[in-house]
Symmetry: C2
Subunit: 156 residues, 2 copies
């Protein structure tokens, strides 16, 4: 951290304020729809979606945490709740019993299938339909460049 602070230029500030507003508002809007229509948070949805797309409908906790962009601790709590609701199961891996493998159950899969159309429609309404194809492309490039700085390892 250098001695002299480089304050933001007005242009930079405007872009940053927009991004900040987006970070505050979009998750709330997404959570609201999912919660209301399916009783899932966006994070829970992402967890179920991650499991559903994986071989054996299973993933080890660390990988799932990476996929869902959350900490292992957060994931552990969330999976415990999802397990109580009957949407996932956990068991230790045969190979290495430090590893926990989570699996989505049939009930969890049904829940996901029921939630998906509404969620996709919301993403479409708020994000995809708001942008041109070029802008979508720009958004991906911009996002990846920022993520590269935030989280230098793991290039997804």
């Amino acid at each position: 951290m250098s001695d002299e602070v480089e304050w933001l230029e007005p242009e930079e500030l405007r872009s940053w304020m927009t991004l900040a507003a987006l970070m505050f508002k979009l998750p709330g809007a997404l959570d609201y729809q999912l919660q209301r229509d399916s009783g899932l948070t966006h994070f829970e949805y992402t967890v179920l979606a991650g499991l559903s797309e994986s071989p054996e409908r299973s993933l080890r906790m660390s990988n799932l945490a990476g996929f869902a962009n959350g900490s292992l601790s957060r994931l552990s709590h969330v999976v415990k709740r999802l397990e109580r609701r009957g949407f996932v199961e956990r068991r230790p891996s045969e190979d290495d019993r430090r590893i926990t493998v989570a699996t989505i159950t049939d009930a969890g899969f049904e829940q996901l299938v029921a939630a998906a159309p509404g969620h996709v429609a919301t993403v479409r309404k708020y994000v995809i339909d708001a942008l041109s194809p070029e802008q979508l492309q720009q958004l991906k490039v911009i996002g990846d460049q920022i993520l590269e700085k935030v989280d230098p390892d793991k290039d997804c």
Copy 2:
């Protein structure tokens, strides 16, 4: 919500996944730095910053909530905590005593001034420096278009 779901095209999906990852990761990274170096969350920082830039260093709760992109309830809890720490004060407005006016104290201002350089440096490191001037401009346009859909009133 229509009968036939329009699933996302691969291109659309990739852009969305990037944006989703950004929404999960960036707030955490920002909060982490602020919390560690100044004991403030990004939301608290935004609240103090909003007050500090306003005439009389004061703002009514609703306006402050709008500025900070949070609900009135959330703001009320946060301001209560900031008040306990001596960083803001609240009093009812003379004109309309339903209205609560929050004011940043000298201690709060000092806290903000102490936190600002590190926070700005972090924003610069993660966002501004990651992007070209054109990309910053694109980001603002893209963000505004999404926000317009999420929150149709209030064009900031």
